[in-house]
Each structure stands twice: as structure tokens, then as C-alpha cells.
């Protein structure tokens, strides 16, 4: 019971913070009680003919336990991965993040020029073009689902590639 109220307090604080930003926040949870507040989840409308598109969001772990994301899927894309863009010595590259740990209370930013979702090869589905459902696969065996809003390019939120959260705990893939 105490744990439940603890979670509610965290949730209230998170929603208050979320209320200060422009996009709505949702609480996404798995059957095994892992909970994330997902804010500002969006994907730029992909340029024509391009098979790879990025997804961005803020995720706050409001559970008492840490959450480890070990995989992703979507009914709209064949493959969904987490990648991080890196610019080192003036050269841009990307690394896949195979496993992402989010500690209790930690907020992780997926933002342009940094950590991002990568959606590869659009499937022929009935999924509405304006929304991309995403499912996070957790190491606990549970799943957390949420939706990315597809926004036209001119609606892109302002970007700041200096504002990355470097406190993210990651295990890079090879």
C-alpha cells in the first residue's frame, strides 16, 4: 500500500512537470507494474521514399524498480531499435543501444542529434498515418506500449543537441 502511494506521489510530481511542457504526457505501464511517464513522443513525417525514420520522447521511470528495455516492436515497422547519434572529432556516426536501463525516478531524453528510436522499413498495415504504436520489451518479460505522434516537418519542436542527458546508463551493442 505504502509503495502504491509512493508511486502516486512520484506520478503527481511527474505529471506536474509534464504539464509545464507543451505536449501531453501519458502513463504507460506493464502488467508487472513497471510504469513510465511518456512525454512529447513524436516522429517527424518521413521524407518521401525514405525507409528509416526517427522517434523522440522523454521517459520517466515512476516505478520503485529499475526498468531495462531489451527490445522494441511496432505493428507499423519491421524493425525498431534504439540508437545514439555521436559526433566525435567532427564525424557523425550511430551506435545501436541494445539494452537501456532506466533507474527509479530517472528521466531519459530521446532527442534529435542524440538518443533516438529508429524505425526501419514501414509495413503495409492499417495503422493510421498520424500515429505509430511502439511496444517496449522489458527484461522482466513485460511490455510497455505508447504511441508516437507523427508531426509534419515544420512542426518539429526546436532542437538543441547540447541538451542531452549524459547520465543515461547504456550497454552498447557491438
Amino acid at each position: 500500500m505504502e509503495r502504491f502511494f509512493g508511486n502516486l506521489q512520484l506520478l503527481a510530481v511527474s505529471l506536474l512537470c509534464a504539464g509545464l511542457s507543451t505536449a501531453p504526457a501519458v502513463v504507460a505501464f506493464s502488467e508487472d507494474e513497471n510504469m513510465l511517464v511518456v512525454e512529447n513522443a513524436w516522429s517527424p513525417q518521413s521524407p518521401p521514399g525514405v525507409s528509416v525514420v526517427a522517434g523522440y520522447l522523454s521517459a520517466i521511470n515512476i516505478s520503485k524498480n529499475s526498468i531495462t528495455v531489451t527490445g522494441l516492436s511496432s505493428p507499423a515497422y519491421q524493425t525498431v531499435e534504439i540508437h545514439r547519434s555521436l559526433i566525435e572529432n567532427g564525424v557523425a556516426s550511430m551506435v545501436e543501444v541494445k539494452s537501456l536501463l532506466i533507474n527509479p525516478g530517472e528521466r531519459i531524453e530521446f532527442s534529435p542529434g542524440g538518443l533516438h528510436l529508429m524505425l526501419i522499413n514501414r509495413k503495409q498495415t492499417n495503422t493510421p498515418a498520424k500515429f505509430l504504436p511502439i511496444k517496449l520489451h522489458l527484461d522482466s518479460g513485460g511490455f510497455i506500449s505508447f504511441v508516437l505522434d507523427v508531426v509534419p516537418k515544420h512542426m518539429r519542436p526546436s532542437v538543441n543537441s547540447e541538451a542531452h542527458d549524459h547520465s543515461v546508463h547504456m550497454h552498447h551493442g557491438s
Partner: protein, 206 residues
Amino acid sequence: MVRARITILGLVVLSIFFSAVATSADKTVTVDPPQLLSDFNLKDQYGNAFGIEQFKGRWSMVFVGFTACPDVCPTTLSNLEAVRAEMGFRMSPGRIPNIVFLAVDPDRDTTRLKAYMSYFHPQYIGITGAGSEIDKLVKGLDAFYRLEQKDPSDTNYNVVHTATVSIISPEAKVVAKINPPFHPHQTGEYLMRVINKQMSLLKEKS
């Protein structure tokens, strides 16, 4: 005691100020003397020839990228547009550099380039062509790229590429380089200084 504290505070403020100046200076490089590009033979998104002549008579900023780039390239193109918008407040349109996107992955880029460029801005120019011709321009820009295709059946490969943007003068010379995150105000201010200086030098020459 109070004085000592004020001195320490002053030193801290000064050190923060100087480190900020050093950081912002690192993000821009003035190429002095400007480096003339060698000729190359590429095509723009409409199929028109694009070589050194097409750089002449206008200012350009060249970004090396590829159309299947989901994060860094669209972010850079949007940020450069913000820089152009900032410059638009205080500079005549003829001096604002246009964006030239050098697409270095011709197998995937050639057919997509026209739609890709118009998605970002009708005025942007996208150029690509044979690998050997791309390499000539890449060399002139002192840039770098590497296709990370594992085998010919691999269609979702990444391309490692220079994130630096080169500023090309109306004489087809590299005059400056700018680096991410392309803060609109700081980068715009720097480019206006560089461009106005070069334009007065050109006037003196003529």
C-alpha cells in the same frame, strides 16, 4: 575574508567566461587563406550538371550526408535553416548562403534526392553522382565519409560522415567551417562577419 570570497567568485566567473569563449570558438574555423575547390562533376536533384561553376556567384553551405540518415541529417538541415532565418533579419538575401546537401550514398540517394530536398525546402540543392566525383568534392572540403554496408544485400546500412558544414564563397573557395549544434544566433553572427569581410575584400579587388 569578504574580499577573498569576492576574488574567488570573480575568478570563477572569469574562468566560466573564458571557457565559454573557447568552446564557441572551437565550433567555427576560418580558413585563411580561402581554399579554391578543384572541379568535380555531379548532378543536382533535377538532373542538371553541378560542378565548381555552380558554386560561383553565390554563397553556399555544404553539408555531407545521405538520405537514409534518420537523425543527424534532418536535424542539421532544420538547424541550418534556423541559422539562415536568423541571418535573414540583418543581411541582404543575396549574401545568405544556400544549403547544398552532398549526398554520398548514390545507390540509395540518386532516386530519392528530388523528393527529399523538396521535403526540406524548395530552394535547397541536393547533389550526388559517381563515387569518384563525390570523392573529389569531399577531398576539396577536407571532409570524410564511409559507407558501412556489410555486403551487397545489406540495404539498411549506416554512413559515417563529417558533421562539419563548409562555407563556400562566390569564388568557389572554402572560407569557413561551422560545427554542430549550429546555434542559430551564434552561428549566424559568425557567418555574417565572415561573409561581410569577404565581400569587402572582393569589392577592394574589383
